[in-house]
């Protein structure tokens, strides 16, 4: 263990990957999404009618938090061009004669266009523009009905008989930072855990020091591994807890379980990732190939764990495959325990899966031992 600590200190690569990179990523993602939801996304307006009614619609649209009117255009072609240039994410089109047509009950039509190659911006603006259009419709209706002498409450009940009241549980602000960072940051930690586990074992073969290492542990592979990886566990666990303190303590992300449960889930995550790393190296005792496999697994985790695009919408074969990724199980534990604060009995399945990841290298340790004794470094 002391020997491993000396190795860790001697190479700056370890310091970078175990501490600096995860902490920098933590800082990066939390400041990037500091606002929770993007504000004042640039949007264009094509107002060919230009009456007080339409100007009012535009002013109201601008008042929405996510939408910010950045420019007025004379026609659709110009607005479309600016969209292609990346200057605006969407535009609202009001054709000539809209106000007159409303007065004359000719049912005019306004339209809005969003650029959905930027999905998040597109959806947010869509929500604002649709609400605005409904409001405009309602406002026009309200005016007409009040002109006929119907009281406002009755008019509202007539215009919108059914109202939907949505409750976004545990994240009512739809905060993207809460939604993404709670899984991205553990994902990056896991990627580093995979790689550092493999890298430290593989370096023994590469530097031809595996004999020395095994002798220190009296040829007991179990003891050798525990001694080698325990310092990693401690350092990564400390980093992970530091990130947790920052997310839930400083940034006040939703946190609905006990501190003990949070520490337990983090510990299980760290150990499971190390278990996975040992497994990979036991199966592929070539440093380069094992690292490649870890990179692949670690990066694909982000997509397949289902925190952006749900697993239920993937192909059935991928749904099965997702079980082989520790991040998937950690994500389920996070949702169940930390975000929703449900009792632990509903999270036993992902916990069991992570425990299996911790134990899974055991049957392969003999193979690893053999590899360490017999294999030479393959570039």
């Amino acid at each position: 263990m002391l020997r491993e600590l000396r190795i860790l200190v001697s190479r700056p690569l370890y310091l970078f990957c175990m501490v600096i990179a995860p902490l920098c990523c933590c800082l990066f993602f939390t400041t990037l999404m500091n606002e929770g939801l993007p504000k004042n996304l640039p949007v264009g307006v094509v107002d060919q009618d230009n009456t007080s009614t339409t100007r009012n619609i535009i002013r109201n649209l601008d008042a929405f938090t996510q939408t910010g009117i950045s420019k007025q255009y004379a026609n659709i072609a110009e607005a479309r061009k600016d969209m292609q240039r990346g200057k605006i994410y969407a535009f609202y089109y009001i054709p000539k004669g809209t106000t007159d047509d409303v007065m004359a009950s000719r049912q005019p039509k306004v339209s809005f266009y969003t650029n959905n190659t930027f999905l998040i911006a597109g959806s947010l603006i869509y929500r604002d523009m649709r609400t605005m259009s409904e409001l405009a419709k309602g406002a026009v209706g309200l005016q007409t009905m009040q002109a006929r002498g119907i009281p406002e409450a009755a008019a509202r009940a007539f215009l919108q008989p059914i109202v939907i009241d949505t409750h976004a549980l545990q994240n009512p602000w739809l905060n993207y930072s809460v939604y993404l960072n709670n899984t991205i940051l553990p994902g990056i930690l896991m990627l580093m855990l995979f790689m550092m586990t493999v890298f430290s074992i593989g370096s023994e073969i590469k530097n031809n020091t595996q004999k020395e290492w095994l002798e220190m542990a009296d040829q007991n592979i179990m003891r050798a591994l525990l001694g080698k990886l325990a310092p990693h566990t401690l350092i990564f666990y400390a980093v992970a807890l530091g990130i947790n303190v920052y997310l839930y303590g400083v940034l006040q992300f939703p946190f609905h379980c006990s501190v003990g449960a949070l520490m337990l889930s983090t510990l299980v995550m760290v150990l499971a990732s190390q278990g996975f790393g040992v497994l990979v190296f036991s199966l592929l005792p070539t440093l380069r190939l094992a690292l490649s496999a870890c990179s692949l697994w670690g990066v694909v985790s982000f997509s397949i764990s289902g925190f952006t695009f749900p697993v239920m919408a993937m192909h059935p074969s991928l749904q099965m495959l997702s079980n082989l990724f520790p991040l998937r199980h950690y994500f389920l534990i996070y949702v169940n325990q930390i975000l929703n604060g449900y009792p632990i009995e509903y999270a036993w399945k992902p916990y069991l899966a992570l425990v299996i990841f911790i134990l899974i290298p055991l049957p392969f340790l003999g193979r690893l031992h053999k590899a360490l004794r017999e294999f030479n470094y393959i570039p």
Partner: protein, 412 residues
């Protein structure tokens, strides 16, 4: 005259030496299995896996629980329509909220729709009635599905209720009085709001940059570890950094010209993602992007001291780079400091330019800013790559000499 001739000969020799380095580099790349994985295998297969993950594009049939406390024809009508919508699926009708909560805890449902007991009574007496929708926030797409379906159903039913109350005589009258102002939504460039159409183009560009970083890092890491970097110089020369840079980058460029064609033209076609580029504009744009990426990777390889360390160093950066490029997170909402830092990497401009040319049919003219930025990067990184290689060659020679001396020392 003589002077001129020797200059010309000098030039000829430089060219032939450059091509020698190019040929050697090609041999090196194609003999090194590790580099081939990054240059060929990853760009070939990785996008397929990614596109496969997102191939569903949208989420359908999000499971929800219904709690109908009204038990009337109107409330049943609301729920039937909700269930009929493609995005939601009612898996159970619970008798109370507790039962619904249990189903959500078991992750069998991601949302609950609650219709209160006075729903029909209020509607029939001409008052506003409320339907409550609860959504699990583990995925924003669940929330989006629940919100949009409930809103759509309520708007449809609202219209019908209004028509019933009005008792107009013609359809035309119905239309005008329920909706004095119509509106229409036109989603552009990604009409089905698909996840793959949105994310994959950015991932493709990132794959080019990241595999170049990893591959070149591995090539140079190997040479530095063995102290053989200086042996790559033209035979019998002590310097020749520019020839090395040109020869090597020509090799990488050729490999990536082919890989980019596969990544940027074939992959979107196979998965029928939105693809409307002007082909010459796309090619003109990719030229500085590839060059900038190559020289960027050559510069960054100064951080790689051994063969394998490129992976722990570079792989994780893919995730922040994807976000900083302004696709996952809108560019307009990125804090200024990160925006400026993002100008360092070619992928920021590459992703934005490619998406606009490929998915939005922009012309080179429309991505002018990105295009010039990439050329500036190419120039800057060419220069830094030259410095980095000059340093690495000298360092390698020094270390090799030291090693030789040590060996001699132990011999005698």
């Amino acid at each position: 005259m003589k002077e001129n001739k020797s200059l010309y000969q000098h030039f000829l020799r430089a060219v032939s030496e450059t091509f020698l380095i190019w040929r050697r580099e090609c041999v090196r790349v194609f003999r090194d299995q590790g580099v081939l994985i990054f240059f060929i295998l990853v760009p070939l297969l990785y996008p397929l896996l990614y596109a496969f993950i997102y191939t569903g594009e949208v989420v359908r049939e999000v499971p929800v629980v219904a709690v109908d406390q009204s038990h009337t024809a109107l409330s049943r009508e609301f729920l039937t329509r909700t269930d009929a919508a493609p995005d939601l699926h009612i898996i159970a009708y619970a008798s109370d909220m507790e039962e619904a909560k249990t189903l959500m805890k078991e992750q069998k449902a991601y949302g609950t729709i609650l219709i209160p007991s006075d729903f029909s009574k209020r509607l029939n007496s001409g008052k506003q009635a409320t339907v409550a929708a609860y959504s699990d926030m583990s995925g924003l797409l669940y929330y989006k599905a629940i919100l949009s379906v409930c809103t759509d159903v309520s708007l449809d039913m609202n219209r019908e209720i209004q028509i019933e109350r009005l008792g107009n005589t013609t359809d035309e009258q119905d239309n005008v009085s329920t909706a004095p102002l119509e509106y229409e939504y036109v989603p552009m460039f990604n009409p089905q709001n698909g996840f793959a159409s949105f994310l994959i183009p950015a991932v493709l560009i990132l794959i080019i940059q990241q595999t170049l970083l990893l591959g070149i890092g591995q090539i140079n890491g190997t040479a530095r570890e063995q102290h053989t970097f200086h042996l790559q110089l033209p035979p019998g020369k002590r310097n020749g950094t520019f020839r090395i840079i040109l020869g090597k980058s020509l090799c990488y460029f050729m490999v990536y010209a082919i890989m980019s064609t596969w990544l940027l033209l074939a992959v979107p076609k196979i998965f029928s993602l939105p693809q409307i580029p002007q082909i010459w504009d796309l090619m003109a744009f990719m030229l500085p992007f590839l060059l900038a990426c190559i020289f960027f990777a050559m510069t960054m390889s100064i951080l790689v001291f051994s063969r394998e360390s490129c992976m722990p160093l570079f792989v994780f950066t893919s995730v922040p780079l994807l976000f900083i490029s302004g696709v996952s997170w809108p560019g307009a909402a990125i804090p200024e400091i990160w925006k400026i830092l993002s100008w360092i990497v070619p992928s920021t401009f590459g992703v934005n330019g490619f998406i606009r040319i490929n998915s939005m049919g922009a012309l080179l003219d429309d991505v002018q800013q990105e295009y010039y930025a990439l050329w500036i990067q190419t120039a800057v990184y060419f220069f830094t790559a030259a410095c980095a290689y000059y340093y690495m060659i000298r360092q390698s020679r020094r270390l090799a000499l030291k090693q030789q001396k040590e060996e001699k020392g132990t011999d005698s």
